[in-house]
Symmetry: D2
Subunit: 366 residues, 4 copies
């Protein structure tokens, strides 16, 4: 880290997550230089017109590798299969790698190959990669040379389900059912007919109902929290908004027949796990509004809204309890490009660099 701050590279900087990394890094007080790399043909400010005036320009990925000696961190925001090939070069040069792709998310290369269809190129590094849900694995992240940043559905689901699962209330012999809406930026920036505006407008696009690629990653992580194998049924769709994930989970509750469980039980569990307000996990905020009794209380007020976290690194959580059926409901919302990608990657960088975990990330949603 030079006197002017960290020097960071971004591979895959022409895509939505890459652009978001640049947007956030440009306003990060601890970052001195940003080197965005892309093979795309568009100039930087044409790829990211919101960053007009910022002065960044793409360099080639090859040039970035050659510049490895001068980097503190490199972010990979590239398709699966890229980082696992290139990361060793950076690691060997002493550059710490934060990978937003799935390449380093599974300890077992066999699992990777089964899901992503090709053998892992750097299996020797899988063991040391930290899994980047900062809130759960801060200590691992701090020391890691490689951080596997979680998938956007996974981080949202893990933050939303952890208190229930770790708290022992969930009946894990039953399937956890998750239904999640992701913004259309989650479909990537390559033009495709099904993501054209007229196709999406006024609609909802379910996809991968037979089993989303993030499903096994989610089961892996929820299972780790539970200390046992779990089954997670994941239903995913793109909603007609650009940013954000609204993830709703239904969890069967143990001992649900005894009447002792209420929404308050769940709120206590979540407060215990994540801490209240900004005092615990800074970016995780629980909506604790009572459902009745407040002036002008509205039915919708007790659940978090995707729009509230747009552009921010926050994860808002809400809970409720269907007492008649013994089902705990959790709603977790994040901005898929920030807490679900670029923001948590930078949060990990902060932890790795030994600076304030919230640096450059404290802005509230729109």
């Amino acid at each position: 880290m030079g006197s002017n701050g960290l020097t960071v590279g971004v591979v895959g900087a022409a895509g939505y997550s890459g652009g978001e990394l640049c947007r956030l890094l440009l306003n990060h007080p601890g970052v001195g230089a940003i080197l965005p790399a892309s093979r795309g043909e568009l100039p930087f400010e044409q790829a990211h017109p919101n960053l007009a005036g910022c002065g960044l320009e793409f360099l080639s990925p090859e040039l970035l590798v050659e510049s490895a000696g001068g980097l503190d961190f490199v972010f990979y925001s590239a398709p699966a299969g890229t980082a696992m090939r290139e990361a060793p070069r950076f690691v060997e040069a002493g550059v710490r790698v934060i990978d937003l792709s799935p390449d380093f998310r599974f300890a077992d290369p066999v699992v990777y190959e089964r899901i992503y269809g090709e053998p892992h190129a750097s299996p020797h590094l899988l063991g040391e990669a930290a899994y980047g849900v900062t809130e759960l694995y801060r200590d691992d992240v701090r020391e890691a040379r490689i951080v596997a940043n979680p998938g956007c559905y996974v981080i949202t689901g893990v933050l939303g389900l952890a208190p229930l699962v770790a708290g022992g209330l969930a009946d894990l012999d039953r399937t956890i059912h998750i239904s999640a809406l992701n913004g259309t930026t989650g479909a990537g920036s390559t033009p495709r007919r099904e993501v054209m505006h007229p196709e999406v407008f006024g609609s909802v696009l379910p996809y991968s109902m037979e089993g989303h690629r993030h499903g096994p990653e989610l089961e892996d992580r929820i299972g780790a929290l539970a200390g046992r194998k779990v089954c997670v049924g994941l239903s995913t769709a793109h909603g007609a908004f650009a940013r954000g994930i609204c993830l709703q989970a239904s969890v069967s509750v143990r001992g649900r027949g005894d009447g002792a469980i209420t929404r308050e039980t769940l709120l206590d569990l979540y407060r215990d796990f994540h801490g209240p307000g900004h005092e615990g996990n800074y970016f995780v905020l629980l909506n604790e509004l009572p459902k009745n009794g407040k002036p002008n209380a509205k039915e919708y007020d007790v659940y978090p809204s995707v729009a509230s976290v747009a552009g921010s690194n926050f994860c808002h959580l809400g809970v409720d309890y269907d007492a008649e059926r013994g089902i705990a409901k959790t709603i977790a919302v994040t901005d898929n490009l920030v807490k679900g990608a670029a923001g948590s990657a930078i949060q990990n960088m902060n932890v790795m660099a030994g600076i304030d975990e919230t640096a450059g990330l404290t802005h509230y949603g729109l």
Copy 2:
């Protein structure tokens, strides 16, 4: 029915469903006169600017009751508690009643009172009311003096789940999990802060997570198809679109371990139940596209889209199978104001009047 066609009244004609009844009735070849009633202060064409030029004007609900003698049908598109008080007057005058509210949906008045908070005003009529999922109860509907038109979530869920449940594939010892997005017209036309455009735009509004009012109705109807008590966990939200329901159901499958079940198994079940194309249940269409092998096959193509049914009385169905977890997935989409309300009400009217079930309803979605 006069020589010019049916004369129909619409109570609650200033709301979204009421306006939709008028829109569809205005183009119905078998309807001669429409009498829309409302207590609202807005003139008809200001309440429904899309119907400019149609010439309809509101009359008072009292005047409509006085005109009962001249009516063939009356639609109730009013809040819960209205039709159960007023319907007897029409029934006694020989006018057939199609009620879009929940007033006549439960055979047992105790259930009604538990959910809607007041004793039923006409319990003697509950026994004879037909439940208006036309596709399932045509014969009952044909003869009924009162038809209880189903809730929008319920009709969508019942059409989507019936083949699975009636076909015996569903493991009904397990909870059926439904996650449904409804358009904002489903929140009614009364101005409220939470349904203001800036609050909804770019967002999703979960609500009633502790148990939606339509939950028991759904369990009632799914249970009737299954011939046993069932548990349905229902999670509801408003999506940032005006019209439509996208309902996704996850159903644990019996014998799911044996590998014999595939998406094709489910498609067969659905074809058997609803019939192919327009030859079976005319308004229910199954998306049978193979997931691979078609030219330019797209991942999204195998699931139905809300936008495709906008403005129409169609229900599009899609199915998939998560083989690893033994979960059948069903996606059912309707226009909440048409098939979910006004359209199915008119479909019922057609059956009751002995005319073509599809009259005035054959238009495709936008």
Copy 3:
């Protein structure tokens, strides 16, 4: 016209306007058979999922030409340059051609070449093509072998400006300024980055500010109504909605200093030109709401809304007067795919076939 109704072909049936032609023709009481032609690789119901169950399938354009003998009408919904090459074959076979492209919109082939960049292939047919604003040129349309259906901006602008221009109130020494928002279906169905959902969502996309291709067509038609050369400054953008045009025109008014002109003056002019309600030009409806004095009158109520005409063939008009500056304001809204394309094409077909001008087109907007 066979005993079962008209047989019609549609060239370019895979695009948005082509799909819309099919949607409307499928519910047209006077049409017996539809032959949609396309070179696209998608099967019909995958290209137009809203038409699921309709049974149509694409044939090749070559096959359609070979079938010319059996057709009553052929619609061209293809890019500029197609119809001018192929139409003669149909015309010679006695098939009447309705062209939604610009190929037959200018009497002078030099103008066509200047705007569209290649010489006209059938200049001998330009003289006989009728210009298809049905409301203005019914008699020409009735007898024509070729109808040039107007551009969507042009038909909306002409219907909105005609009363002012023809009524002599407009000061045509001054430029008429038009600002128009078109839905994203107006950008065509070919995947392009700038029309991807994330790029359009929450935004507005101005384009062709240096002079839209439809500008000269608009000046041509407004000029014809005025009996003189006129200057029309046209500013166009895509709004973040799928369907519809909202066109606003600002017209300097003659004698604007004398205080005698009010909004009522303009309303009278429009009533005189288009007729009241459905009694004049059936599809053109003027919003005559007084700005004050109605119960619950709202500021927005006096102007027409794009959403009100979605899916319909109606054109809603509103007018206002900026007395301080002597500027008449006109707002005209249409569905760009219906009144702006497929709907008015069918309206022309009706006139040409000698059937009710409104056949198949009477449905109100959503």
Copy 4:
């Protein structure tokens, strides 16, 4: 200014602009304490769920006035008529006032009364109020006790038109025509039927076509730049997005017949006035992309997009030239709640406080 930074009050903090002031001030490095005042009944974090966890709570406006002694600045984000009554109390207490309402925008109290319908309550302060387009009036703002923050249409229009008008190219004997779309947050946070989500979705809501209240303010400011009286025809509408203004202006150009004017002429004029990139007026950025010749150049790329400035204090400008008609086109986009309200108010505060003009405002749009 205490050792921990500025102490600022916000009157009207429950509305959209008030919430935005709080959002930006919470991340302002020079602000130590924020006192939001409101009479509303909702608790702070229920009024602004995006600010969950921030810890702010509303106090009563009366209490804020009593606390005047401890404040450095007070922002008025209240309806017209509030600040003119209350500001003197703060001014006398040495608190500098930044008013986002129209109360101090006109030097002449007669003009205020004509537009806003009541006599001005503090005419003696009108003379000293600085008009808060920081880019144009920095020196006035620096010393002022009261800053009249401009209307959102006005600041966007002035930044967009200033180079043309001040540069002498505009033919000001002709009316300048402006057509502007504003997000629905511009309609305020009070629930009204016409701003309900189903009414706005897929639509455009023109309003105040007879002359918007901001029209005279715009003519006043453009006239000041021109050194003469000007006529501005303003057409306004709400677009179906929450945030942002897209303002398009058409300006007749002097000597337009001589062929010497091109888009480059305009670009030069804008560069001269605002400076290139962030070197001139930091928040004003000109889109200088050539229209052809870039790899993958897109038609839409040369014009700025509302989405690019969402959440930011930037104003993006684009220009084009309709050579055939001699009309210069300008497109200016801002976030109506930031550069159009809260952001420019804070920019003014920065200048008044003698700190970096961009403090707390450097974040790029989403």
